[in-house]
Amino acid sequence: MISRVAESCFWLQRHLERVDSTARLLEVNLSFVLDVPIPVLEAWRPLVIVAGEEPRFRELLGEGALEDGEAVQEYLTWDQRNPVSILSAAYWARQNARTIRETISLEMWKSLNSFWLWLTDGSGRRLYRSERSEFYRRLKEMSQLFRGICHDTMLHEDPFDFMRLGMLLERAGQTARLLDVKHHKLGPSAPVARETAVEFAHWQATLRSCSAIEPFLKKGRSVAGVEAVDFLLFETTLPRSVRHCIDRAWNFLRRIRPPAAPGVPHESSTLLKALLDHVRGTSIMEVMHTGIHEELTYLIESIGGVCLAVHRDFFDPAMPDAQWTPGPRSS
């Protein structure tokens, strides 16, 4: 497929994944702050950090706004100056879709376009004002709807595979960032028996942000820091665990570029395979030993490295030099 189109597929789903994960975080936090008596600064600031937006937020809105739940929600939801706000991510998702309308299915386009119109024609704003949680639930549902339509109406070949690849890498990174911020705030986890009610609520909220609370309980785990970290990092059957996302991303990358494909660069395969081997071969005990923050930093940086390699391998391939001759299939 055309390199530029592949890049748009990749980013289309990454942006939508951001809409989804930001909406999840905000929805969960809304209920979390009602349940738990915590310092105001601890209530909303972590969300800005997860988004990687703390410096810009401070600069635009000032230090004090970090304590202001409304300001944080507004910034993460509507602010166009925030490149990863829900509005910005939705805009870029639609722009990417618009440039590849011939590639995606008509149903996908219509679904995304209706979503965009709803978000921008005042309807979304009204719901945001009147029923905040419902608003975030709708956002989540719309991105789920889009993914479902995508799965059911597109050919499962390269464009689809690039979309899934983008989505899974974004999701793995998002889970890792979320854990990192929570870990920072709570510090190294205490033994289960000594965990406070506040910590308990924190971990519960973290799991809920990843739609993982019920799966967690179904697997017979008890809510505690180490258990939650283990589950979100390494549970093979959890759709938002890092392990699961990397496993699946590897499948899609292998479909895009079968291992035997000759004469083409595959830096992305090498890097993703290394990351895969790492998450498959690491246990939570080892992570506790080396340090959670160190582990999460490694994961976040590796995922970033894979994304760059995907870009180099597929979206911006080197042009032929004087010696280049077209292969047999391209002549």
């Binding site: 497929m1 055309i2 390199s3 530029r4 189109v5 592949a6 722009q95 618009r98 440039t99 590849i100 309308r101 011939e102 590639t103 008509l106 386009w109 219509k110 376009n113 209706s114 119109l117 390269d158 690039f162 895009i256 494909a261 004469g263 083409v264 597929f314 979206f315 391939p317 042009m319 032929p320 280049w324 077209p326 292969g327 299939r329 391209s330 002549s331």
Partner: protein, 500 residues
């Protein structure tokens, strides 16, 4: 127009017949009614069906149709800022209807005209017989901005030059169709024809079914077949066809993507292509792949910075070389602008006689050449009754509509004409026909034109039944361009009686 069989229902305003109070303009041909206000016999059945929908129901369905375009993102961009703003193309639910017989005659005239124009281009970039024999002044051709002298002697791969033509027609007060202009470079609008039809079928299925209308959905298949038929040095089924767009901020981007999608071929931008050893390749995730045919939606000037405008960011360096070498086919060919130059237009009937030894089947509009001293003086003396246009203009920009302009505007325009006479032609104002059109609360006569599309492959020609009907939505306006307050209607060509 009134309908007698409505009885008591007619008393309620909500169920009033749609065309109850419709009155055509005096001195103008109306597509639906005679001057006396009666439905024209050819289209009376369809008019009756629409009328029976009733005003309230029609209004509801017009709203549904508008919603469908909005949701579908059927848009064009307006160059009001750098990014371009997407707007939906206003759509009017009342179709323009053409009887089978009338369409058949138009179709013959269109095919004849496009054949002659193709032969003219072949000749101009070849032997130039028509100039040697003095049938068209040489200076007229050589001074045209659309003439690409570098293309002399080059035969395009596959032979085709005007693969896709859009011929703009008007209907005069006497009911006769006349050719207003030819679009032989990158005619647009066909995606709206197909989208309009899709919406009509959803919104007024009953009326549509009973009207027995010829389909338009197979246009992309015909276009793809024509494009693969001109591929150079490769079998049609092996040919890789791409649609080349300037990008998502172009006004017709929706159409570019629509055509790529419905033909099942990639939509590319200039940066997706490169030329290596005079062959064109597309960058893919599995390495470069050869391209055989480019349906380009970029003007000649921007196609190749090496051959034409060096500042073009949209084109592909070396593309003109690849084309000249015969390694890639372009649709349409480079240099077609000479044949749709408005100053060459008056000679099209002559081309038909010269190349085909036939009389033109379609009349055209009387045209004055401002480059001719006598004609120019006549135009300037009668500016208030003239439409003056730039010879290479499009989109309704840069023209003067004499009767609608102020005295100051006319004087300023006259100055431009005197400064660059070759750049202008003039035509008498034509009272183009009207069609009943929804105007906020009621149905009113609005002016329409018609752009049929003719697709010419290596060995066959296809005319899309109907084409794009554009409508000037503003009362009294003659300008149908989307960029200037125009909208569109679905065009129904009725099947011949007894076909089904």
């Amino acid at each position: 127009m009134t309908t007698e069989d409505r009885g008591a229902r007619g008393a309620q305003p909500s169920s009033a017949p749609l065309l109850d109070r419709y009155a055509p303009l005096p001195g103008v041909y109306d597509e639906f009614c005679t001057a006396a206000g009666a439905p024209r016999p050819d289209v009376a059945r369809v008019v009756g069906l629409l009328d029976n929908l009733g005003l309230a129901e029609f209004r509801r369905r017009q709203g549904l149709a508008e919603g469908a375009f909005h949701e579908g993102g059927v848009t064009f961009s307006v160059y009001s800022d750098q990014r371009g703003v997407e707007k939906t193309f206003p759509f009017d639910l009342i179709p323009r209807v053409l009887a089978a017989r009338e369409w058949a005659a138009l179709e013959r005239g269109l095919v004849q005209r496009v054949r002659a124009l193709n032969l003219f281009l072949e000749d101009i970039y070849g032997e130039q017989r028509i100039l040697h024999e003095g049938r068209i002044p040489r200076a007229m051709v050589e001074s045209s901005a659309g003439y690409r002298v570098a293309m002399r002697g080059l035969k395009p791969p596959g032979g085709g030059r005007v693969i896709i033509a859009g011929i703009d027609l008007l209907r005069r007060p006497d009911g006769e169709f006349v050719v207003l202009e030819d679009n032989l470079r990158v005619p647009s609008g066909v995606s709206y024809v197909i989208e309009n039809r899709g919406v009509m079928k959803r919104v007024i299925p009953g009326v549509f079914q009973q009207s027995r209308v010829r389909g338009v959905a197979d246009y992309p298949i015909h276009l793809r077949n024509a494009l693969t038929s001109v591929a150079a040095g490769v079998a049609p089924e092996e040919a890789r066809v791409v649609v080349l767009t300037p990008g998502p901020y172009n006004s017709a981007y929706f159409e570019h993507s629509f055509l790529a999608r419905t033909m099942g071929c990639p939509l590319v931008q200039g940066t997706d292509l490169f030329v290596w050893q005079d062959k064109v390749y597309v960058k893919t995730t599995r390495g470069p792949r050869r391209v055989h045919v480019i349906y380009r939606r970029i003007d000649d000037d921007f196609l190749d910075p090496e051959a034409f405008r060096p500042d073009s960011m949209l084109g592909v360096r070396g593309l003109a070389r690849a084309y000249a070498t015969g390694n890639v086919a372009l649709a349409n060919a480079i240099g077609n602008g000479i044949a749709d130059d408005k100053a060459v237009y008056p000679f099209v009937p002559e081309m038909i006689r010269f190349y085909l030894a036939e009389e033109p089947l379609l009349p055209q509009v009387e045209t004055f050449q401002c480059s001719d001293d006598g004609q120019r003086e006549h135009v300037l003396a009668n500016l208030a009754r003239m439409v003056v246009k730039e010879v290479d203009g499009a989109g309704g920009y840069g023209m003067l509509i004499g009767p609608k302009a102020t005295k100051e505007e006319r004087e300023a325009y006259a100055g431009r004409v005197r400064a660059h006479p070759r750049a202008f032609i003039a035509q008498p104002v034509i009272e183009l026909s009207t069609c009943p059109t929804w105007a906020e609360t009621q149905v009113a006569p609005r002016r329409v034109d018609l752009r049929p599309y003719v697709v010419t492959g290596a060995s066959s020609t296809f005319v899309l039944p109907g084409g794009l009907t554009r409508v000037a939505l503003v009362e009294g306006s003659y300008v149908v361009n989307s960029s200037q307050g125009g909208g569109s209607k679905d065009t129904w060509v009725l099947e011949e009686e007894g076909v089904r």
